[in-house]
Assembly symmetry: C2
Homo-oligomer: 349 residues x 2
């Protein structure tokens, strides 16, 4: 186990545990920028030696710029063990693509995990900024500063007509992808989620599960992000996304209100059962735990559990995943037993 | 609501809440005697006026004998409301047959419900005695005294060759049916219950669910009783039944031990989930509640819940039934909501 990973595990992930506006429905806001070095081959086409050189150049520039703070972490992927990589993935600091790159791939990140740079993912740089709650503007302002600081050290590929050049045409232009993670149990319980997703998709926004495409609606968590990066300014893209998110929040609040009015006991029952099982079960699969945490989170939002802190629930969404468990509950043979034990202990506090 | 029924509802049913030997597996022991008045038509053949006369005669004799104590209750079935009747049935003080008889049918019982006489059920008298835990001998001794006291006031139909004469040939002889209610979650969880039931059936003993035939294994509760009443003395019948019950107890203990050894977390999980749901659900059906109470009872037996009293669990097996709930949780519209509320409150204490 890498020492830096150990440091990360001691973090109470700030973008999950700090309070933020709209936190009853929006868990976190995230903005990332795709950037590439001028005159250098894109990672997808670069050979091993080129990837290593770029990795070293960018990591040094990030460090020298001071963009990620004095205690920033620099983690070359090829030096990490399998579980270290999985922990970074479960904490949403790296993508599967970065991990697959291997040699030359590097994660640079702030010690508090609120910002980072993936080096040699699909692009030379994928700069990320995360904020708790519904704070896309704040995430944008922070990443804009990071971008400016990095530009003092690196020359980014930029075209007057197209904007920032990227490996994949869907990122050309601003290179920006903004996303929010929403907790939508009300829309799911009232069977409105599919029509809501369809409506959002028609607006050229993408809807995905917590760990990306194919993870569906585990824990009733959904990410909504912009699809296009070209033809609009960053602020226009953010404004359009924010407007849709505000509508989703209103829909979800309305669904919860109607459920409380018309199916009060079905709602209370789901919440109560979720809490009862999380507090007392001795075996939990990831999928069941995510769904129960969703029920508990709804109960906390509704004021049913004054003793449970919303940050604890958010953090459990991360720490119940397999690699975290293998580290946090070392020695326990059965992963489902370890998961139930961790949850019981965290909720007892 | 009959005032006497209200009095019963205030009882902590002694045969359920007092501690008794072997109470971790045997919930209660019960003996009943079938008796008929000499020279009178059996209830099944009697007309209305005859039934009324017999009802009055027997009720007066029971009262005058003092067999059921000074504060005994006398409840003519035709004066009871529908829910009153159901409450008596749920408390196992009357049978469906007695309730169906109507005019002339009477329940006489001790104020603490530990003994009673059904008048004009299938026979003129069905005398019952109930004890907590595994105490067939004690139940027998008590009912033998009741029987003797009643004999000072009533002339029972008795044949030197056949013994006591009864409406149905299966009761002729001793007229005795002895039964115990067993809680067998270990045999159920380890899939041994069917073979255990088959083995018991071959010994001319009957196995039934908590509320008689057709109620299967709700709550993992099983009644075992003697089938034949002829050709053996009461003490021989009891000795044979006791021997089988002791074997069942040994089987159940063995099953629990093996589950704890080999499937510890499956067992803990079932118990923990049962407790968590009972403490926090907002809607419970009878069947789910019975099964969860079974899980909780197992947990109490295993020493997992020091704060939960076994008598409280036993009593809930009765009070979660519909008629009790309609009375205990009056005003609550949804019976499943009322049931969950009652259970939450009882387990909180």
């Amino acid at each position: 186990m890498n020492k830096a990973i150990n440091r990360l595990l001691r973090n109470r992930v700030s973008f999950l545990t700090d309070t933020g506006p709209g936190e009853d429905i929006v868990i976190s806001s995230r903005v990332r920028l795709a950037r590439n070095l001028a005159g250098r081959v894109f990672p997808v086409a670069a050979d091993q030696s080129e990837l290593e050189k770029i990795g070293a150049t960018v990591a040094a520039a990030v460090r020298d710029s001071g963009a990620l703070g004095d205690d920033a972490l620099t983690l070359p992927v090829n030096l990490l063990g399998e579980d270290d990589c999985e922990i970074l993935f479960e904490r949403r600091l790296v993508s599967r693509d970065l991990l697959a790159r291997g040699l030359g791939a590097v994660l640079c990140c702030r010690a508090d995990e609120s910002a980072g740079v993936m080096v040699n993912e699909e692009d030379h740089l994928r700069i990320q900024s995360m904020q708790p709650g519904f704070q896309l503007r704040e995430a944008w302002e922070k990443i804009d500063k990071l971008d400016s600081l990095l530009m003092t050290k690196l020359d980014f590929a930029f075209d007057e007509k197209y904007g920032f050049l990227t490996s994949c045409p869907t990122n050309v232009g601003t290179g920006m992808r903004a996303s929010v993670m929403l907790h939508l149990p009300g829309l799911v319980m009232s069977n409105q989620i599919q029509s809501a997703i369809q409506a959002v998709s028609k607006l050229h926004l993408a809807v995905r599960g917590i760990f990306g495409e194919g993870t569906d609606n585990r824990g009733n968590l959904f990410q909504i992000s912009n699809q296009s990066t070209l033809g609009e300014s960053e602020l226009q893209i953010l404004a359009r996304l924010e407007s849709v998110i505000r509508q989703m929040i209103a829909h979800e609040k309305n669904a919860r209100r109607l459920l409380l009015e018309k199916e009060q006991f079905a709602l209370l029952d789901q919440v109560g059962r979720s809490y009862g099982l999380l507090r007392h079960a001795y075996r939990l699969s990831v999928d069941e735990a995510l769904n129960l945490l969703s029920g508990l989170r709804l109960g906390v939002d509704l004021g049913m559990f004054s003793s449970v802190d919303i940050g604890t629930v958010n953090e459990l969404f991360i720490s119940i995943n397999p690699a975290h468990l293998r580290k946090l509950a070392a020695g326990e043979e059965d992963i489902d037993v370890a998961r139930a034990k961790l949850v019981r202990e965290r909720l007892k506090k």
